[in-house]
Amino acid sequence: LAHTVELNNMFGQLHSPGYPDSYPSDSEVTWNITVPEGFRIKLYFMHFDLESSYLCEYDYVKVETEDQVLATFCGRETTDTEQTPGQEVVRSPGSFMSITFRSDFSNEERFTGFDAHYMAVDVDECTEREDEELSCDHYCHNYIGGYYCSCRFGYLLHTDNRTCRVECSDNLFTQRTGMISSPDFPNPYPKSSECFYTIELEEGFMVSLQFEDIFDIEDHPEVPCPYDYIKIKAGTQVLGPFCGEKPPEPIKTQSHSIQILFHSDNSGENRGWKLSYRAAGNECPVLQPPVQGKIEPLQAKYSFKDQVLVSCDTGYKVLKDNVEMDTFQIECLKDGTWSNKIPTCKIADCRAPAELEHGLVTFSTRNNLTTYKSEIRYSCQQPYYKMLHNISGIYTCSAQGIWMNEVLGRSLPSCLPVCGLPKFSRKLMAR
């Protein structure tokens, strides 16, 4: 009779029918042992005494899993064609093991069969699983009955609970030049990640991209980029997918807004990519500095958004629409024209000096010049007023267009009344 016994305990015993008496002939018993996931089964024999036969074709104990035979035992001693378990432990790779005892229709002598025990044993997935598919991406943590994965700082555990991805969906670049690379470049990039890079510049700029350095993205010999890839969207134009080890040629787009998608699946150890980008706009005409002035920065070429500052030599002021100022800024516009014409430089003019109470002003030049470096002299209405602190009263027109005195700066002097000095002196006083 053949029958099957289902065993689900974490341990147990099984033996041949009639054990410890001899077993009957023509019988078949199968024990199916199932333990929880994360465990394997360890089987060992305490007693083994079966009829011996070539390759155990008569009586045998066969240990197997769903898809392989782990061992077939028979006889009393191990010979070159039969094998007894002896002290050997039989382990299942997984959480299922089936043990079949079979006796044929006759026995030349009495055989007492077998006595076996089994137990569930934890599987340490962290040390046993070598194949890439099943190991953790970064860190593996075993526990009785199972394991889990965790990731290095900065990574997130993917929904597959095995690979580690990064959050890289909000990379925004607004500078006119920059470098963009895969995460951790030049170290292998993370798996299971969707990285978005956006280059967002003002309309009028046109971005060009150039891959540099290493270009190493997992690819496939026949299928174009089925695993990891880069795609570039420039305006309405979509470029890629790119993968493999040969970087794409430099890319000149006509757009000011670029989206770069970098996708990595849950496998592969590739070092990634790096690119530089540069934005350039329409060029503006070359500029000539004004007479008595300069422009900064002085460049051979100017393009959209470039700004220059016009300033004048010392003693001169920028004159723009009849307004005087120290500097004037113009900008290269999107259509390649300058926001303003270059202003002129006008010599600083301090204009008519302020009147001085109880004082007067004299010009040091015949035509009463008031421009840069001209000089005037304040004096007080002598003999009734005198200049406070006896300063020189000489003012020079500064480069800022302000009358300046070396002691008082831009403040006017003060004329104080002279005291005790009558014009009409009296006869000498008596002694």
């Binding site: 109880h358 209405q381 009734y384 007023y385 009344p417 002279v418 005291c419 005790g420 000095l421 009558p422 014009k423 009409f424 002196s425 009296r426 006869k427 006083m429 008596a430 002694r431």
Partner: protein, 251 residues
């Protein structure tokens, strides 16, 4: 001014006449800066109740009661050099005592600046204490001998008297000469200021600087020109801090 002589026109351009609006002069003063007159507090205060030493605002003259005349030489007649200016503020020394004439100094702020010229010029404030024995000049349009008023500004040259001497002279009259006062005059009497000269300048020449500065202002005395009874003046050096605080002036 007793036993004085006419002043030379323009030799003391800082002198001011305090005059009622009807033209009646009643005190002298000195120009400081361009818009302040220093004079005697008792010129600006009407003693209504001799028994009450406290000065009440109501006892003070009001700015519209009088005017200031600068550049003046003749007492009654006017000439082209005169500047008639109204008063903006009256400030008398906070510690002025009308009964003892202590701190007898007052300041008048003009409603507008004087125009400085050969006949109108301020006097300097003292840089230091006056020296005993130094000769000072006192001037004014006050009474002369026999109570007559002069035609022009008069002046006297007298020496500063030792403070103790002066104190002793007045001690017999039970009059106190305090530290804020200074005396000047001849022992034998004669040259002295008198009524109507109050507030006017006592000045002297700083020989190093060549400038005239104010030593005192005519304040009080016992009668005028009496032997041993010197003229007592408000000592400006003593009041200089107060004057500068109020006027903001400096030499």
């Amino acid at each position: 001014i007793f036993n004085g002589r006419p002043a030379q026109k323009g030799t003391m351009p800082w002198i001011a006449m305090l005059s009622h609006l009807n033209g009646q002069p009643f005190c002298g003063g000195s120009l400081l800066g361009t818009n302040w007159i220093v004079t005697a507090a008792h010129c600006l205060h009407q003693l209504l109740n001799p028994d009450d030493p406290i000065v009440h605002n109501s006892d003070l003259l009001t700015p519209s009661d009088f005017k200031i005349i600068l550049g003046k030489h003749w007492r009654r007649r006017s000439d082209e050099n005169e500047q008639h200016l109204m008063v903006k503020h009256i400030i008398i020394h906070p510690l002025y005592n009308p009964n003892t004439f202590e701190n007898d100094v007052g300041l008048v702020e003009l409603s507008k600046n004087a125009v400085l010229n050969d006949f109108v010029m301020p006097i300097c404030l003292p840089e230091g204490p006056a020296q005993e024995g130094a000769v000072v000049i006192v001037s004014g349009w006050g009474k002369q001998f026999l109570q007559r008023f002069p035609e022009t500004l008069m002046e006297i040259e007298i020496p500063i008297v030792d403070h103790r001497t002066c104190q002793e002279a007045y001690a017999s009259l039970k009059k106190k000469v305090t530290g804020d006062m200074i005396c000047a005059g001849e022992k034998e009497g004669g040259k002295d200021a008198c009524a109507g000269d109050s507030g006017g300048p006592m000045m002297t020449l700083d020989r190093e600087r060549g400038q005239w500065y104010l030593v005192g202002t005519v304040s009080w005395g016992e009668d005028c020109g009496k032997k041993d009874l010197y003229g007592v003046y408000s000592y400006i050096h003593h009041h200089r801090g107060w004057i500068q605080r109020v006027t903001g002036l400096r030499n």
